[in-house]
Symmetry: D2
Subunit: 345 residues, 4 copies
């Protein structure tokens, strides 16, 4: 079976997915939709696809699956629409910035029995996957402490910040998902502290640019997240897991692995400049995993519930900062959290 794709949104990340789809021998990019005609036309012509409207894609009999790369505030509506017409859906995170809206959307997905995968690309990074393999093979025993460092090379424009839902929902959300994925147990409590150190304009927009988060699970496992909107040395993406029998870590990645030595010392180049180059392999594997799920009619992972829980953790972190206290996650996710996200691993 060839999975026939419609792509919604021909921006930066849409291009990444278009490339991944066309590189797969099991998939075909049939149509591209974008509010900007030229963006859609350029991308479609590059890969031999048609330009269509979202409506046309909804009704198309020659399309099995869609990839949603449109602005965040359209995600939930699109997921619901495509669920109802029986198409498989890959949606970039987040489903929505509002937990209640996400819950409503997931009820539709659930009722329609739709296949929905959420774009937590880091789960598909080969280095992070290797870390998880080590954990699953029991090589480090019982996981006890997860440490995640995630720093962007520079802050996005304040306009972006204002629409982003804030650093916890925009940036830390990836780390919340990674923490859950590595802990292998649901997070029970969130404590966070946040400040504005990079750019006062970010503070004026009501957001933070430097945050630290601590998470704990029912059995007492810890995770720590350190985020900054600036790292002069590149896109800093590290994970480390300490367990009862050992530890495992994924090192930072750089474009080339050389070292120059002189009287100033031994210098390796800066890290990747951002996620497009750092997670090239992850994006390809992510779409490949979605294609496999669609082809085999098996559940896609990370699921909509994974998206919801990460968002709920972001909300909890924000509450923790504002109230200076540990926030229980059950306060936020409610009944949905009962459906273990780990069942499908």
């Amino acid at each position: 079976m060839t999975v026939r794709f419609g792509l919604l949104g021909a921006g930066r990340i849409g291009k990444v997915h278009a490339k991944a789809i066309t590189a797969s021998s099991k998939a075909q990019l049939v149509a591209v939709a974008d509010a900007f005609d030229k963006a859609a036309t350029d991308l479609a012509s590059q890969y031999g696809a048609e330009v269509r409207t979202v409506d046309a894609i909804l009704k198309a009999s020659d399309i099995d699956a869609v990839v949603i790369c449109t602005p965040t505030d359209t995600h939930a509506e699109l997921i619901e629409q495509f669920s109802r017409v029986g198409k498989a859906i890959f949606c970039e995170k987040p489903i929505d910035l509002d937990v209640e809206r996400v819950k409503a959307c997931l009820k539709v997905v659930d009722a329609e029995g739709a296949t929905l995968m959420v774009g937590f690309n880091r789960r598909f990074d080969p280095h992070f996957m290797a870390v998880r393999d080590v954990i699953e093979k029991g090589e480090i025993g019982v996981v006890e402490m997860v440490t995640i460092v995630s720093r962007d090379p520079g802050a996005p424009p304040v306009d972006y910040i204002k629409r982003s839902g804030g650093i916890f929902r925009d940036m830390t959300i990836h780390d919340f998902d990674m923490a859950r994925w590595l802990l292998g147990e649901e997070i029970e409590s969130v404590i966070a502290q946040a400040s504005v150190l990079v750019d006062p304009a970010i503070g004026e927009a009501g957001d933070y640019d430097s945050v630290s988060v601590m998470l704990s699970t029912a059995s007492g496992k810890h995770a720590t997240i350190s985020n900054s909107r600036r790292a002069t040395y590149g896109y800093d993406q590290r994970i480390e897991v300490h367990g009862s029998k050992g530890a495992v870590l994924a090192e930072n990645q750089r474009p080339v692995s050389i070292e120059v030595a002189n009287a100033s010392g031994y210098t390796r180049p800066p890290l990747h400049d951002f996620f497009m180059t750092r997670y090239t392999d992850a994006y390809a594997r992510e779409i490949s995993s979605f294609i496999d799920a669609v082809e085999s009619k098996s559940p896609a992972s990370p699921s909509g519930l994974d998206g919801l829980i990460a968002l709920a953790l972001a909300d909890a972190a924000l509450t923790s900062v504002k109230e200076g206290r540990a926030v229980k996650v059950s306060d936020v996710t409610g009944a949905l959290a009962d459906k273990s996200v780990f069942q499908g691993r």
Copy 2:
């Protein structure tokens, strides 16, 4: 001038200091006291010193300074006694497990104008000193986020745990001091989470073995501390400082820097087995710094106030765990914190 020393306590750490004193061309080990005769005799004879009682050392005219390595519950009393007879004092941390007792002790030290140095040995580790040099030279700009990982290779006996004042006062206290030393600004707020993952007996003794701590300063700087009482891979001691212009980190140390490659991969040996081998150089430099302070009649650093503040941070962390909230440090240190510990830098 040769600084003439009396050593109180001939146990493991007492031996380290005896060696450092005798290796210095500016110091002489004159007398050793210990509750166990044989311990005192063995150490004294190795270095050509006399065995004396604490009282005799207090009254001795041929002794300028003492090094206190006796059990913790004797520290404050000894500091007061030796302050009153005008001898310079180096005391292993902590001064006492009780903040009020420490404050009372420091008032005596202050009133007598005594020289008091507290044994935060890590400040003298050459790698950590190099990190601080980088910060002080402005190479990483303004310090924003300090990350400290500190894990012991294995848990101490439960008997030790019971007398230790708990993990925050016994183990994390070193990291609190490092965090202050690296942040260059007083800590305002402490949030901590703690659990028992290593040994249930530690929990039964009322303590924790796995803790995570977040600290923040008035200007919004963060520090994160990760502690465990167990690390199969050795004594894990890392610091990392992220600033506005860059970052600096100190790598873990191992006894030998070799790597063996075979079909299983590339393997470097485990880390140092514990603090005695990891901080050999630091202990020597620490005593050397104390000798310099005594000789030049300048203030010793880290001071008694440094000891007090680290203890207060430990207390705040414990309160944070118990109450699930951020704890302001001013609640704990009160007026004393006004005397900036950084003045003497």
Copy 3:
């Protein structure tokens, strides 16, 4: 312009090039030829190309360039044939195992003004390219000593060994090319030693499996090459260049950059398993560079002369081993070496 390709040889390396050609937006794979019908058919159908005979490709008006991946003993003849019909030629190394035969072939190429590129893929490895960039920017001053370590994970079958021309012409030839490329100056003298340490059958076949080579240039620069047909830890591929102002090195590559720590130490995974995974990027860039040369009608590099000189160095190394003496390269290359290979850099 789209460069239209014929692929001669649909084996392992042919597949690599087919993939690279089809991934390029400037090239098209038109036809595939292989002595084994099924190999040609499988590869052609995967990429929508036709199966044709070599003769048909020679005569085809819809083919601009060929990639020669057939057995070594057919290379020279094919290069001559395709030179005469005006098609651009990319040929896997070596052109031939016999220096005189290569010279004869290159005379034809020269006479026909054909575009010929020889497959020294390592020149296109991003890490090695970064090393050369550092050199060309003058960051390490004048190059003085080049060190190349190149070890295969395991020995090839003895049947392969017998047809290979021996380790110097089959394996070290890549390192000879790298040495020239990094030294930036022609090699004048070759000294080598060789032994059979891996497998006696290799010795019985008249070859060696462990060799060390030293090269020197007229100005006194050195290069050292260390080869083994076995490395339990993976495909060991390192270069290091020491110059008057500093040094630069390219580290070994592994599929994933993780590290596992436990009581046995800190272990990173083995290296890539062989050239197909180690040089994936290099193969893609190599064909891309050839396409650019064909498209812009500019000389391709590495050239036929580069191929000849590397072969001559291999011959010199063999003579050195047999006679226990330094061998001047001018003895081997003769007049052709006057045409500086560096002119086109």
Copy 4:
């Protein structure tokens, strides 16, 4: 038993040994001799020793062993004199620059049954010792290829060069000894190339500053040595051993293990500035090993024969450069090489 020492030569390396002797609980520095009174007096007074003449030390009944740190041209004579009076001898390398003179000297040592140890300090470096441990435990199988890189941070004064016996006898001699020690088999053949790249004045003095050497043993094992008299990045001292089951390497050492990251990349400090700081531990362990040998009346290692063979290898290398051919070592060492240096391991 306390080994009572006379120190001949109070220069830079004499001071290192004086410190090591006095730090040992099994040794005592009794007397110091030096042609410069002030040098002897300063060192003697620092460690509570007496100043004596060499003659007085020869006749002294309170001296068991001597450390010879005088100029090279006095070594052989002093060894003979102290052998005849039954004192144990530690002598800095080389015994003499002339192989025949060394042989004559060793005959005296042999006839007198004297204890003689030669100062190949690198054998006592903890990192290199760990490499050898890995080999001896069989972890890398049969040793096949040893790679040694040894580069000085800068060239010595030309005056020193002139008296040094040339780079092979002065600098490479350490690497010859390391190669033998790691190969575990005598070297049969030496090939070398040498040039002047660092300083023309070195060439004018008849010496080289950049050399590459290849060694081979009867069973076909290889060793490669790369030397330069200049390395802007510090004292470059690496060894690597490749065997049938794996490889082991010792990394370069630096004073502090920190890394600074910024927009220029990740920078670690330069290496140690020279042998005094790089081999501090090695010098201490070396003297300690000598003390143990004297105390236990067991043979000291490295022996005089080790010193002779390393010198013979240096001579062979020089011949190889001058004649452009592989030189058999048996040509140089003759009958003495029959006494396996490895017997005492």
